[in-house]
């Protein structure tokens, strides 16, 4: 029975260690939320709320600072919406092709490329935006600089593409083949079957993929900094420069004094980004259970 006792102590240690790790990870969740909250709420007490809703951001002004965060919210929304406008139709087409018109053996090779595309570091995407896409935009639209909202949007569109294609083509593949066969038997073409019949089944996954991409695009930092020109103004057209919420954090945070109003306001912007991520996740979680029920 000596064996038994060592085994049961190994089991106890294993159980204890994994519980401890789970507690530690959960502690991380609590710490992230609280350490983002505290400076953010300090900012809310130091600066009147209405001051944030201005269009002027000037944290180091001589005659007093202005804390309007609207330019950054506008910049983030502009770039994200442009990214979605470009990538939604493209990824829908790509997902239909991958799930309906590809053989399994080719797909397993090309899926790797989508995984790789999702993994290209954002700083490299930013480098491409800066050195390749921006000059192109400047040339096409006759601008002095191509570092514009449009540049950021195009870069983000490429970055969120794999998310949408993966979610959508997985959803297409989960549909029981009988529906497709039924549509084909009724005389529909393969394309009609996919778009007019099968799309009904992937609608929830479609919405969820758009939400996930929205979250990814609005949270992307380095690629956007290198692409949009970083001018704290509300862009009126996509051909103007702008600055995003993530951008102002990455650019100004290293220069702020810890604990200053500027520092706290930047944390408030970070807290907003955290809230957006939580909201996006919550909404897509509301939709996902329905995907399972409907496709099984």
């Amino acid at each position: 029975m000596r064996n038994y006792s060592t085994n049961s102590s190994a089991e106890r240690i294993f159980r204890l260690a994994s519980t401890a790790a789970a507690v530690l990870a959960s502690l991380g969740v609590v710490l992230i939320v609280s350490f983002m909250c505290v400076p953010a709420f300090k900012a809310l007490s130091q600066v009147p709320f209405a001051a944030f809703l201005s269009t002027k951001w000037n944290p180091k002004g001589y005659s007093g600072s202005t804390w309007g965060i609207l330019p950054f919210i506008a910049g983030s929304l502009w770039t994200t919406v442009i990214a979605l406008i470009i990538s939604v139709p493209l990824s829908f087409l790509a997902a239909v092709f991958s799930s309906q018109f590809m053989t399994e053996s080719i797909r397993s090779a090309t899926d790797l490329f989508f995984s790789v595309l999702a993994g290209i570091p954002s700083v490299i995407m930013g480098f491409l935006a800066l050195t390749t896409i921006a000059p192109l935009i400047a040339k096409v639209f006759h601008l002095s600089s191509g570092l514009t909202i449009l540049n950021g949007g195009i870069t983000l569109a490429i970055m969120v593409l794999p998310t949408m294609v993966s979610v959508l083509s997985d959803a297409f593949q989960k549909i029981p083949v009988i529906y497709k066969e039924g549509a084909l038997a009724l005389g529909a073409s393969k394309w009609q079957a996919a778009v007019e019949v099968l799309f009904q089944f992937v609608k929830p996954a479609f919405i969820s993929s758009v939400l996930l991409s929205f979250g990814r695009a609005i949270g992307e930092t380095m690629a956007v900094i290198m692409a949009v020109g970083n001018v704290a103004m509300i862009p009126k057209t996509p051909l103007q420069p702008g600055e995003t919420m993530t951008g102002v954090l990455a650019i100004e945070m290293p220069e702020t004094i810890a604990g200053s109003v500027h520092y706290n306001v930047l944390f408030l912007i970070g807290f907003l980004l955290l809230l957006i991520a939580l909201l996006v996740n919550y909404l897509s979680g509301l939709i996902t259970p329905k995907v399972r029920v409907k496709t099984q």
Binding site: N7, S8, E11, F14, R15, S18, T19, A20, A21, A22, A25, G28, V29, L31, I32, M36, P39, S91, L93, A94, F97, F113, F114, S115, L117, A118, G119, I120, P121, S122, V123, I124, G126, F127, L128, L130, T131, T132, L161, T163, V165, S166, S189, W191, L212, G215, I218, G219, T221, M222, I225, M226, T246, L249, A250, P254, L273, L274, A277, N281
Partner: protein, 280 residues
Amino acid sequence: MRKAFDSIWVLLSAIAYFSAVVFVIWVAIHLYALSRGKLSLAFLFTNPSSGMTAGGVFAPLFGSIYLALWVLIISAPIGVLAGVYFAEFAPDNTLTRLLRSSIRTLSGVPAIVYGLFGLAFFVRFMNLGLSLLASALTLSVMNLPVIITTTEEALRLVPNAQKEAAIALGANSWEVWRDVSFKYASSGIVSGLFLALSRALGETAPILLTGVVFYQPTVTLDPTKTFMALPYHIFILSTQHSKFTEVLPIAAASGFVLLLMVLFARILAYMYNRRIQRWL
């Protein structure tokens, strides 16, 4: 008529699909072309010099690899064990369900938010200062959700019949895990670790606020010191350098090196588990 119309759509969707494949290949070729022959073995093993307009990437490359090593040492055991807990031991109650969903949510939180957290918690509250350790801890926190989720999902795919057979033979939960679950799930877990590695190598925003510096050519193993990292090196060269055209080939060459490392980690992740969430 209808058929011809459909064929056009199919053709368009094929173009959309394969343009992503072409883009990935184009990125590598384009970076290589922009580097204008700067790439060589010597480029990897010499430090940046003459105001970063000459020399190689030794210090940033070393910093990135050393940082990734620390990230794996910190996050792999905690992440895998916590994943085991959620798959095997967690009671099915409101608390664990809440924790599981909040950990999943964290994988969607922007990298820069982790940077702010690292600055507030590790750098300032824990008093680690701007250091490699603070950056490694920040990236570890960011990677934990990925490792936990992939581990948990890999363990859930282990057939129950196998586990039950082992239990029937008298194995306790540790033995079941060691001899059955781990063997089944190991490739999924390893895949998650490679995914975490690729993120540790490629992320810039979290380390930007927690300890990376733009010039520090002396390489040290001391984790309490600041460090150089490849992604930040590329960022600085292409946005903050006054002689942009001069350093462009160096930035492109550094980008090529970084791309190869990250892609290698991701290809391994994909080879170990094809069902992996491809967008993470």
